[in-house]
């Protein structure tokens, strides 16, 4: 899939910008606050109907204006025109595919696969287990509708069960235990589906990460991803173990009125040569790992969906030395089309620009080709 064209109206600093993209590398160059990252943000919006940062739609609207609009033209086998329109007066967002309004955001998920690397990715390797689960869940959900549905089902079960645990905590009513057993069983059944899908994913994804890491880094460093579920390493017998763990937590769950066991507490441990990255990794290793994860995600989704994702890289070269930067830019040539923001092209020596690559300069919300 390729993104050929984008048009932005009142989208943050962009009053009215139109860009025709290259099918190869698109370098988007500009200083801080000039509106270069906004272009990636808009592309992400068009692919998912959502913002990748958690800022509300109303914040996207250009200062003193009342609405924003973004339009994109995608092509693979067919052409697809996608448009997002938001009105701050109605506080409502409209999404159109080929001029037909789409009402369910879920029906968009996975249709335009997108991978975005941002400076915020540091939380994937350095942040909490929740950050890693969010990262992994988003990849599997993009690749599998079945997984997405189990995930939504599981989260709903968690909310019902938390409400029930709270009622038991507040009232001490033992007649609610029968209901609790049913919701626990539901949690185990749905949760086990998540665990088995995540385990299968972690095994397969390891190969993709190793491949990416090897290309960016030296061969002497081998990355690993290990799945930690139900407070231990995965061992296959998860349904029984989940049940036992839940039983052992029962009193504490009731005392605290909260769900204390299950795949919503899982973690993925990243390592290099058998050493825990979070504990022992250097700044450079963390950044390299983050970049490798996004390349791995790109190639994983490409294979699973049979569709090339849109690849967005926000300030990927920021914290890397020039050797690593050059390797990444070479690697990007295997990707095909990509969108890369940076402050200055000449900052990175040895970075070569091929004939089909495009340089887009962004200054104060205005776009020109370089």
């Amino acid at each position: 899939m390729r993104l050929n064209y984008i048009k932005l109206n009142n989208f943050r600093i962009h009053k009215s910008s139109e860009i025709n993209f290259s099918g190869h590398l698109n370098y988007i160059i500009g200083g801080n606050g000039q509106g270069k990252t906004t272009i990636l943000e808009a592309v992400y919006y068009l692919c998912t109907t959502k913002n990748y940062s958690s800022s509300p739609d109303s914040e996207i609207v250009r200062f003193t204006e009342k609405e924003f609009e973004a339009t994109g033209l995608f092509s693979d086998l067919t052409e697809n025109k996608v448009r997002v329109y938001y009105s701050s007066e109605q506080n409502k967002k409209y999404y159109f595919q080929n001029d037909k309004q789409i009402y369910r955001a879920a029906s968009i998920i996975g249709l335009f696969p997108v991978v975005i690397l941002t400076p915020g990715d540091h939380s994937i390797t350095q942040g909490s287990p929740g950050d890693r689960r969010k990262f992994i869940d988003s990849i599997i959900s993009q690749a599998s509708d079945t997984y997405l549905n189990y995930l939504l089902d599981y989260n709903k079960t968690l909310r019902h069960r938390a409400s029930l645990l709270n009622q038991i905590k507040e009232t001490g009513n033992r007649s609610l235990f029968g209901q609790l057993d049913a919701w626990s069983e539901k949690l185990i059944i749905t949760g086990s589906e998540l665990i088995s899908a995540r385990e299968k994913f972690a095994v397969g994804f390891n190969g993709y990460v190793s491949e990416s890491y090897k290309i960016i880094m030296d061969e002497s460093e081998i990355p690993q991803i290990e799945y930690y579920t139900l407070e231990g390493k995965y061992d296959g017998d998860y349904k029984e173990r989940f049940r036992k763990l839940l039983e052992s937590k029962r009193n504490e769950e009731i005392r605290r009125g909260a769900n204390l066991a299950g795949p919503h507490r899982d973690d993925f441990i990243f390592g290099i040569n058998g050493k825990n990255l979070k504990t022992y990794g250097s700044q450079g290793q963390h950044k390299t790992f983050q970049v490798a994860l996004r390349f791995a995600q790109f190639f994983y989704l490409k294979e699973k969906k049979g569709k090339t994702p849109v690849f967005l890289l926000d300030d990927v070269f920021g914290e890397l030395d020039s050797k690593r930067s050059v390797r990444i830019s070479e690697y990007l040539k295997l990707v095909g089309q990509a969108f890369i923001t940076m402050t200055d092209f000449s900052d990175i020596s040895n970075l070569t620009r091929e004939e089909d690559d495009l340089i887009i300069k962004v200054a104060n919300g205005a776009v020109s080709y370089g």
């Binding site: 509708d145 997405l148 089902d153 079960t157 409400s163 057993d181 049913a182 069983e185 539901k186």
Partner: protein, 198 residues
């Protein structure tokens, strides 16, 4: 803007109906206003009849003209099987298939701790009572395959099994006549996961 009070009242009442917004209510009220009085009368009497002539069966809580519904009264129906559904509309859906000749039990909803629906708000006690007194050998749980429906099925199964009655759940999977390629991926995915031996 001033709206004549009878019109305003009609719009308000109509918009209380499920899935009717203010705009639709307005359209309906104006449509009725323009209609012949005969048509309006037959509509109002149909609605009044609905309330006056129908009630819920005292055994299975299906819609009924009498105290006990036609299904429960029919001696040709298999009294050893009870199919448990969420709403009376589900009885209509299953009856249309002509595939089921047992009895029904309408729960009147599903468990939902978040919205405060507990077993006492559903016809669960009444179901258990039927299982004691009748010659029931099997209970089919035909609740919706969503989060709350599945949890309710698990809850009911735990209550019913100790009584010694067999509990089954309707299979879920692909719609008949539906092409694999047109089914949504989640349905196909689940059908593959819940595959059966042949």
């Amino acid at each position: 803007m001033q709206i004549a009070q009878p019109l305003q009242l009609a719009i308000e009442e109509l918009s209380k109906l499920p899935s009717i917004g203010t705009k639709t209510a307005q359209r309906l009220a104006l449509f009725l206003l323009k209609s012949d009085i005969d048509k309006v009368n037959s509509l109002t009497s149909a609605i009044t009849n609905l309330k006056e002539k129908l009630r819920f069966c005292s055994i299975c809580f299906n819609i009924s003209e009498e105290d006990v519904c036609e299904v429960c009264l029919n001696h040709k129906r298999d009294r050893s099987i009870i199919c448990v559904v969420e709403e009376a509309s589900d009885v209509i859906a299953i009856e249309k298939t002509n595939e089921f000749s047992g009895l029904y039990h309408v729960l009147g909803g599903v468990l939902s701790p978040l919205s405060g629906v507990d077993p006492n708000s559903l016809k669960i006690k009444e179901l258990l009572k039927r299982l004691e007194s009748e010659e029931v050998k099997e209970v089919i749980l035909a609740l919706n395959p969503d989060t709350e429906g599945e949890a309710t099925s698990l809850y009911l199964a735990k209550l019913i099994k100790p009584i010694g009655v067999q509990v089954t759940r309707i299979a879920r999977g692909l719609p008949i006549g539906g092409n694999l390629e047109f089914a949504d991926e989640a349905t196909i995915g689940r059908a593959v996961i819940n595959r059966i031996n042949l």
